[in-house]
């Protein structure tokens, strides 16, 4: 595919709405705006990723996944990526820059936040409440479940209405049965996994083929990534998409209103797209980066940053892995990966534990023989190689699975995204730097949950158990860096994602989350994006726009 590439050429001189980022939330925005008949242009720095490029159905999968398909952009170093300074971060941020964004590589755990996640201040006396409740978001969750073709089982007692899904659950497999036996002995909550992966053919998506390669892109096309769930229809409806377009800054008019964006195409041309309104959907690192880059006389501290909150309150969900090994061959290379099941037994606050909030547990298969992920090892030669290469393989391969623990980290203004003073991307644009430390509350939370996960494995009959308390390559969930709230003095956007400082600028990705929950955010990112964009569409006739347009 040559660069730059425009779908639905030519681009309009002035777009009704410019969307920056073609990932989970940007896809929702573009779809809704195009359906409503608006002239919408999307700038995406990445490209399309055909499923034929994925390696999950090829012998070399485990070799290439550690580089070409690695979720850490600093390791992958793809031309679409920008570097990120992580020298002052406990956790590496993970993402994918392409049409479909990080849904290309996400695990597709389709977790719905629980009611308490929207009322952390009210219920637990810490952090903030969201400006709306679980019930307010519920219809948008349900709509997104269908848009993404989610597989799951209704009546999970972790939710008020139990939830129902368009497709039945994926198999929990032999690892799931084994883990359930342990949870059953302990009397703990578990439920078959909810995944945006097709357990049966739906629309143009085939049934899951259980390659277990979800985290490196689904070669079958069964996983719901928004390049296949949203973009085809959006393009049919007239949406304009420019790939290979890296935004340098959002521009403003004499009144301080957003009036478009400067960007660089892959031929190195500096270009500008005019727009009546701008939606920023570039993830919890990319969005504050662009806002901070967009300084002007009207916005000297960066766009929408009169509170100095842009980039602050970064939350990335520290992740612990507790892997159990069993006597039986559990065929634990089979997918989905994806979650086989989850547990919310210890999700809610119990202050007697010495910390607040909790974590979702997800049961994950263990992948192929070369190792599910890099970063678990570091053993001396004779432990991993020599005769022990074979002994370890026979003991572990196909016989182990992971209880993964997604720890809720609370917002802290010291955890932030800033512009790096030296590092730039390939276009010379300042790169982001992350300053992020895991808190004492998180440490206590992880210690408690790891101990419980050990008990879960022991109850299920594990013969050995290994623990990774904080996986460095775990920052999939990039949240909180443009806080949503009702008060312009302590938030960046209102409940509709509209910037308090710039009424024709909207932010609709995970940046706006006031708190992070203790689970996977994509379902909530997309439901919230849908809620925000519906509001914009319904009120577009009264939308403030630049006077010259």
């Amino acid at each position: 595919m040559s660069n730059p590439v425009v779908v639905n050429s030519p681009l309009p001189d002035i777009a009704d709405v410019l969307v920056i980022g073609a990932g989970a939330s940007g896809s929702v925005a573009v779809s809704e705006l195009a359906k409503a008949g608006h002239k919408v242009v999307c700038l995406e720095q990445g490209q399309w990723t055909p499923s034929s490029e994925f390696a999950g159905d090829k012998p070399e999968w485990e070799l290439v996944k550690q580089k070409r398909w690695h979720p850490n952009p600093n390791v992958r170093n793809h031309p679409s990526d920008y570097p990120i300074d992580t020298t002052e971060s406990d956790v590496n941020p993970l993402m994918y820059n392409a049409v479909g964004g990080s849904t290309i590589l996400y695990a597709a755990h389709w977790f719905r936040f629980m009611p308490s996640d929207f009322q952390v201040k009210t219920m637990d006396g810490v952090a903030d409440d969201w400006p709306f409740t679980y019930e307010d978001l519920l219809p948008f969750y349900e709509e997104m479940d269908h848009a993404m073709g989610v597989s799951g089982l209704a009546d999970d007692p972790a939710y008020p209405e139990g939830g129902s899904f368009p497709l039945p659950p994926l198999p929990i497999g032999k690892p799931g049965i084994k883990a359930a036996e342990g949870m059953d002995k302990l009397g703990w909550h578990w439920w078959p996994g909810t995944n945006s992966i097709a357990s049966k053919a739906i629309g143009h998506r085939p049934q899951c083929q259980r390659y277990g390669a979800c985290l490196t892109g689904c070669p079958a096309g069964a996983k719901a990534s928004t390049d296949i769930t949203h973009w085809p229809t959006a393009i049919e409806n007239g949406a304009h998409l420019l790939t290979g377009a890296r935004v340098r800054k959002i521009t403003v008019d004499k009144d301080g209103l957003a009036n478009g964006a400067d960007y660089v195409d892959r031929d190195g041309n500096e270009r500008h797209q005019k727009a009546k309104a701008v939606i920023l959907a570039a993830n919890g690192v990319g969005t504050p980066r662009i806002l901070l880059l967009s300084k002007s006389d009207k916005h000297p501290n960066g766009l929408a940053n009169s509170t100095d909150l842009v980039g602050r309150r970064l939350m990335m969900h520290p992740y612990a892995a507790v892997v159990g090994t069993y006597e039986d061959n559990l065929e634990s290379w089979l997918g989905p990966a994806g979650e086989l099941m989850h547990s919310m037994e210890f999700y809610e606050t119990d202050k007697s534990r010495g910390f607040v909030r909790g974590a979702k547990w997800n049961l994950m298969p263990s992948g192929g023989p070369l190792g599910m992920r890099s970063g678990y090892g570091g053993r001396p030669v004779d432990e991993s190689f020599g005769v022990n290469f074979h002994k370890n393989l026979k003991k572990v391969f196909g016989r182990s699975f992971e209880w993964g623990i997604i720890a809720e980290d609370l917002p802290d203004e010291a955890n932030r995204v800033v512009l790096d003073p030296k590092l730039t991307d390939s276009d010379g644009i300042p790169a982001p730097k992350l300053i992020y430390k895991s808190s004492e509350n998180t440490t206590k939370l992880i210690d408690f949950h790891v101990d419980r996960a050990l008990e879960a494995h022991e109850a299920a009959g594990a013969t050995s158990i290994s623990i990774t308390k904080l996986m460095r390559d775990c920052g999939w969930h990039l949240l909180g860096t443009a806080k949503m709230g009702n008060d312009p003095k302590d938030s960046v956007v209102n409940q509709w994602g509209q910037a308090h400082d710039v009424p024709n600028l909207y932010i609709i990705d995970g940046s706006v989350f006031p708190t992070s929950s203790g689970g996977n955010p994509t379902s909530t990112i997309m439901a919230n994006a849908l809620r925000s964009v519906r509001h914009l569409v319904e009120n577009f006739s009264s939308q403030v726009t630049p006077s010259s347009y």
Binding site: D57, P59, V64, M123, I172, I177, H189, Q209, Y211, H390
Partner: protein, 135 residues
């Protein structure tokens, strides 16, 4: 493409990492130094420099001594050697067969709800595990 000298050095080092044992073939038995390593290097060109550095380390050394010293003195090169050698070994279909791994082949999703519905009924009996919205 490895020259004959490097291929000979690599053969000794690869068999130190993956010897014939536990009913499994060595790296050489599985044609890693003569066939599969070339494919692995094609898949991971980013590891070639470290790999060649590891082989240079093995010149005029006993393979076991070379491996041990490499791990302590140039762990990055050791990692390149280890990943490529292990990855090449598992590319061999005969090795996959011996460890019972069918490889990355389709296995259509089945419905196994009946296998766990009894245990799940008890989860439902235990009741809600969430806190409702405070009105």
């Amino acid at each position: 493409m490895l020259n004959e000298e490097f291929r000979s050095i690599y053969s000794g080092m690869a068999d130190e990492l993956i010897p014939r044992a536990e009913g499994m073939p060595s790296a050489s038995d599985a044609r890693v130094p003569t066939e599969w390593i070339d494919r692995a290097l094609d898949y991971r060109p980013d590891l070639q420099d470290g790999f060649l550095r590891a082989l240079n380390y093995g010149k005029n050394k006993n393979p076991r001594e070379a491996i041990q010293d490499l791990n302590t003195q140039d762990s990055e090169a050791f990692d390149c050697l280890g990943v490529l050698t292990s990855g090449a070994y598992f590319l061999n279909p005969e090795v996959k067969k011996l460890i019972g791994y069918p490889g990355q082949v389709p296995s259509p999703a089945n419905d196994d709800l009946d296998a766990y519905s009894g245990m799940l009924a008890k989860v439902l009996e235990r009741g809600p595990v969430y806190r409702p919205t405070v009105k």
